[in-house]
Amino acid sequence: MTYQKDVWIFIEQQDGRLADISLELLSKGRELADTLGSQVCGVLCGHQVEPLAEMIIQHGADRVLVADHPELADYRTLPYARVVADWVKERRPYIFLIGASPLGRDLAPRVASAIRAGLTADCTDLQIGNYTSRRENREYQDLLYQIRPAFGGNLIATIVNPTMHPQMATVREGVMRRLPPDPRRRGVVEAIQPAFDPADLVLQVLSRETRPPSVNLKDAPIIVAGGAGVGTAEGFQLIRDLANALGAEVGASRAAVDAGFVSREHQVGQTGVTVRPRLYIAAGISGAVQHRAGMDQSSKIIAINTDPGAPIFQIAHYKIVGDIHEVIPMMIRTLREKAK
């Protein structure tokens, strides 16, 4: 039997809807599998989720493994990890990708530990390439380059896992391009009956409370973001005013969040949200790597800063050296006049 270098994608779903990150991973997985000449397999757990399998195929999978069981209705670490780890042990995929969502970051390390595989967290890029291990003086073909920011975002590290496969990685939401579904794609759906150990079921979910997201940076076409240069929490109103005038969402750097100017859900950057809007206005943000990692893919970037040497200017399309407290009111005035 030839060794199949299959790419597995863990499919996250809630209330019958596929998570965006899973669709992004299916697109990326398709690309990796095409490079390797192998197949993409979606791994789906839940209760009454089988109708989703067709959609998973349209988004790039050749095969979908489905575990449909009442015990899998709500996500819980142990039953999910049991199902997934058992499948991996039995079928030995080459690559296994999981979203770096709160769920994925809970599940992936549990599974990796159970199957003794390497796991790289929070990747922002994945490629196929060769690797020469100096330690073993050996060349490995077609490994997964797992690329991620490291050291607070100041470095970009490429990680490989030469032998302890599958090559597991969690991937940041919003960094991989999602391709449109292809309704002509065909694939195989395989339903598998999970077998639980009583020890898998010791944790009970008593209740859940979801807040609708008050901030939606990911889908915002325009973002106005403030940084330390805003100066005070009251001063942040200026950022909100400009955002209102543009119909934009409000973003922030970690410095602004840490200083208490604005809540953490607004944070853009390596430890916040990754965004790629049509227009990103960075106001009073110096542009630490940590921040740039989360916004440098924006189509157009306007930077406003008093310091002409601020790193943000190196990725900005429009540079305004000046005080945001003067420049932003000018922008708001111009926009209001245009609206008349």
């Binding site: 969502s101 549990r110 840490d258 390596q270 190196q314 305004i320 245009k338």
Partner: protein
């Protein structure tokens, strides 16, 4: 069987470079990190984990053991833990642990937790700021064979061997009930860690690992030999225990670099892409022209 004892808790902590306050001289010209220029700190969310354990002890009774794996200098976070109220602290240090990824680290920590004796609760911070992986907690739970409760916000109740925990999720909360023993990873919003107590700071002023004795006997000439210092510290329960690979009985191919499936292939200093850019004067005319251009290109409006 009646539950007639208090809770045995282990807190896993890490000393980390303070990546939040990286300044220019930390990154060297060749793109490598000048670690010496970074202050080493107690990983912030591990302080929240310690605080949660100390509050369980105060409310329900128990013993708090703090474990860290790291170079000899990591003893500093153990002293910090003593000042805040830890009952027992242990430093796991051995050159053979070096180069460990999260899989090898969780294996090593698991063996150490097992060596501390029976336990009810293991706490760790959600993630460490040097790697931000959030992997070691769940991997340690898996190797200990116990459930994990990640993103722990509050311990709602603890009755005998049953715990109810509120988890902080991205968009809301979840309440879960679980059997002990289990492992909790604690988020930064869980509590405000107490500052070191002045009384305990004085009480544990001399606390040290034997690895630090050579420096200390120079600093405190009143101890003529390392043996004299050791006798003094041991009598006052201020000798910080040090465990090596041999002490915790690990398989050599599962620790350090050898036990780590992931390898760093290359590291790049983040290079700024040069972008075609326009200078916009910070004047009403400059700003108006900019906005007109954006409207014309359908970026705005």
């Amino acid at each position: 069987m009646a539950f007639d004892r208090t809770y045995r808790m282990v807190v896993l902590v890490k000393q980390v470079p303070d990546t939040h306050t990286i300044t220019g001289d930390v990154m060297k010209q060749d793109g490598t990190v000048n670690r010496a220029a970074l202050p080493a700190i107690f990983n912030p969310e591990d302080l929240n984990a310690l605080e949660m354990a100390l509050r369980v002890r105060e409310e329900y009774g128990g013993q708090v053991t703090v474990l860290t794996m790291g170079p000899p200098g990591a003893a500093e976070v153990l002293r910090e833990a003593l000042y805040r109220g830890a009952d027992r602290v242990i430093l796991l240090t051995d050159r053979r642990f070096a180069g460990a990824d999260t899989l090898a680290t969780s294996y090593t920590l698991t063996r150490a937790v097992q060596k501390t004796g029976p336990f009810d609760l293991v706490f760790c911070g959600r993630q460490a700021i040097d790697g931000d992986t959030a992997q070691v907690g769940p991997q340690t739970a898996e190797k200990l064979g116990i459930p994990q409760i990640t993103y722990a916000q509050t311990i709602v109740s603890l009755e005998e061997q049953r715990i109810v925990v509120e988890r902080a999720l991205e968009r809301g909360s979840e309440w879960v009930k679980c059997q002990l023993p289990c492992l909790l990873t604690v988020v930064g919003s869980a509590n405000t860690p107490r500052p070191p107590s002045a009384r305990r700071r004085i009480e544990y002023k001399l606390a040290a690992t034997p690895l630090e004795y050579p420096t200390l006997v120079k600093k405190w000439p009143e101890f003529e030999t390392e043996k004299a210092l050791d006798d003094y510290l041991a009598a006052r329960r201020q000798r910080i225990e040090v465990w090596t690979a041999d002490d915790i009985g690990v398989e050599p191919d599962k620790i350090g670099l050898a036990g780590s499936p992931t390898q760093v292939y290359k590291v790049n200093f983040v290079v700024l892409q040069s972008t075609e850019s326009k200078d916009v004067p910070a004047t009403p005319a400059g700003v108006t022209a900019l906005i007109e251009e954006l409207v014309k290109e359908y970026v705005v409006g």
